[in-house]
Amino acid sequence: MSDRLLDGLTSRRAGIALLAVTLCLPPFYLDAFWLRIGLFSMAAAIGAVGLALLTGTAGQLSLGHAFFLAVGAYGYVWLAGEPGPGLPPGLAALLAVLLAGAAGGLFSPVAGRVRGIYLGIATLALVFLGHHVLLTADSVTGGFNGRSVPPLTLGGFTFGAGDPELTVLGVPFGAEERLWFLGLALFAFTWFTARGLLRGRPGRALAALRDSETAAGVMGVDVARHRSAAFVVSSLYAGLAGVLLALAFRRVVPDYFSLALSVDYLAMIVIGGLGSVAGATAGAVFVTALPLLMTRYADQLPLVTAPGSAEGFVGPTEAARYLYGAAIVLVLLYAPDGLHGIVRRARDRVRLRRPRTPGTDPVTSPPQPAAAARSKEHTP
């Protein structure tokens, strides 16, 4: 191994360590408002990574992501709560994630049969069905008013206020501080596993499905199995995101898991750049944080109504939607590969100026979709 490569590896390790430390700092310096933004962003990023695998990498359009998020969230609440089996919360969380995966598996025969926009519409049905069930199955879901979320307890440690009281470096650790670290751990897990998938054999097979099912089949990829697997994996991540969202909200209500949520997730992966973990994360932070920030600073923004005042034209949430709507149009027009593509091109440009490092591993680049719109199938 060349010294250069070793240097590269150590500087990479150092970079990751620095990032990890930085991400651990906010609970010591920021108040609950910012921590909540971070927490929701992390949960959204986990869900967005799942959708990026399904829609970005495997090329299967899904408008049903909100449904799988709901299965995770409500699954946890029911399994850990009362009425419900009242399982230990850790176990309930795990089972809720598996339940979401199973829901994806149940849907996969449909996914195996319909493609493209038709699949999108089939998944749309899931959202309506799910919403209806959430409203009507009162005994499980609590109906319109939803249910409060039991806090997660792991080995006697509660990710909520108190029990045990905890003060770290003079900072009292309440629910937000504790959940921040939980979210961080789950997000790190998601990042690690999703990138492993994308850079490994399954990721290449899924990307091949997207580019040409014919070529994938001829190269030995079991097309039907991988189409289903993409749904299951994506739903597992959605379930995990759902559990974390439930814990962050402390109350789940049916109206949150509507079609608009599915569209938000699609917006995240389009803005971030289809099929990349980093892109999905960036998109998730953007789409999640924007409305919260605009609500908070509404009084300082032109044209935006502060909550509780009559001036201005649009409410902060609507204004945020206009903004990220505009962001989507701009991305589709000028950078179809999203934030991730912009960063990658900038990095390539920097790299071109410097001499190339020998021995870089060509396979470690995950499959890159070059454009949001592409021709799907080739006839052999």
């Binding site: 690690f192 596993t193 999703a194 492993g196 998938l197 850079r199 490994g200 054999r201 399954p202 990721g203 290449r204 097979a205 990307a207 091949a208 997207r210 580019d211 040409s212 014919t214 070529a215 994938a216 089949g217 001829v218 190269m219 030995g220 990829v221 079991d222 097309v223 697997a229 994996v233 870089t360 591993d361 060509p362 396979v363 680049s365 995950p366 499959p367 890159q368 979709p369 070059a370 080739h378 006839t379 052999p380």
Partner: protein
């Protein structure tokens, strides 16, 4: 890792294969046998059904009648990925690569030969990492064999047409095939690229001992490489034989080679 025996490939037998598309008979009772280790050319005018025949062989198209066998296994009812796992690899007439780098494409060719599943890859288990590294080594070898060594890290989309054709060939070779189906491997290439490709195909056959079924309009290439030739016309097989026999077959001359051969003879 190279777990397929280097023994002679099995016989590929095509028996009375008929394919119909809404009123059009694309293949009409086609039979031929690919002798292990030989280069078998499939020729015929445009629309004769050559690519359709490849689609039957690779499981993309179900024939209305007839069978395809590889050794003792019938291929006709198998899904494409099962046929690939038996060691039948192909290239496409119009290039069908996936996005990503050349290495990504070639690693896709290793799919059937590797095991790592979703869980193992997601958790980056040591065996998945090791497997990926081993297959990458073999991919480098094959890239070298096909002259793609220096392109491994380049996105396929940025390569020249000839190079992309070679990527397809290399990807097929990554399956460690026992039977290789090449659909017009030199179409659209310039003279230098053609000569290069002909050399590569010749080497492959000599070094790897695989059976090759070759569809090609370049008669010079067919005559040089093929051991046997089957001629199709409107889906019907009209002649079989060695290149020299086929060249002299009056039916073939009339249906297909006629003008060319006479022009060549006159020259």
């Amino acid at each position: 890792m190279n777990d397929r025996t280097p023994a002679a490939p099995p016989v590929l037998g095509v028996r009375d294969v008929t394919v119909r598309f809404a009123g059009l008979t694309a293949l009409d009772g086609v039979s031929f046998t690919v002798v292990p280790g030989s280069v078998h050319a499939l020729i015929g005018p445009n629309g004769a059904g050559k690519s359709t025949c490849f689609n039957v062989l690779s499981g993309l198209c179900r024939p209305a009648a007839g069978t395809v066998t590889l050794g003792g296994t019938e291929l006709t009812r198998l899904a494409p990925h099962r046929i690939a796992a038996l060691g039948v690899a192909r290239t496409f007439q119009n290039i069908v690569t996936t996005q990503g780098t050349v290495a990504d494409n070639l690693m896709l060719g290793r799919h059937a030969l590797s095991r790592a599943g979703f869980a193992a890859s997601a958790l980056r288990l040591p065996r998945a990492v090791r497997e990926q590294r081993e297959h990458l080594d073999r991919v480098r070898e094959i890239a070298g064999l096909t002259g793609l060594g220096q392109h491994l890290g380049s996105p396929v989309a940025l390569l020249s047409y000839g190079d992309r054709k070679r990527v397809e060939l290399a990807r097929a070779l990554c399956l460690e095939p026992r039977v290789l189906l090449l659909d017009e491997p030199v179409a659209g290439m310039n003279a230098a690229e053609r000569a290069r490709m002909a050399e590569v195909i010749g080497d492959l056959r000599a070094e790897l001992g695989l059976s090759i079924v070759l569809v090609e309009h370049d008669m010079g290439l067919v005559m040089r490489l093929a051991d046997d030739v089957t001629v199709l016309d409107f889906g019907r097989p009209i002649a079989h034989g060695t290149p020299d026999e086929v060249r002299q077959d009056p039916e073939v001359l009339r249906a297909y080679l006629g003008a060319d051969v006479q022009a060549e003879d006159a020259a």
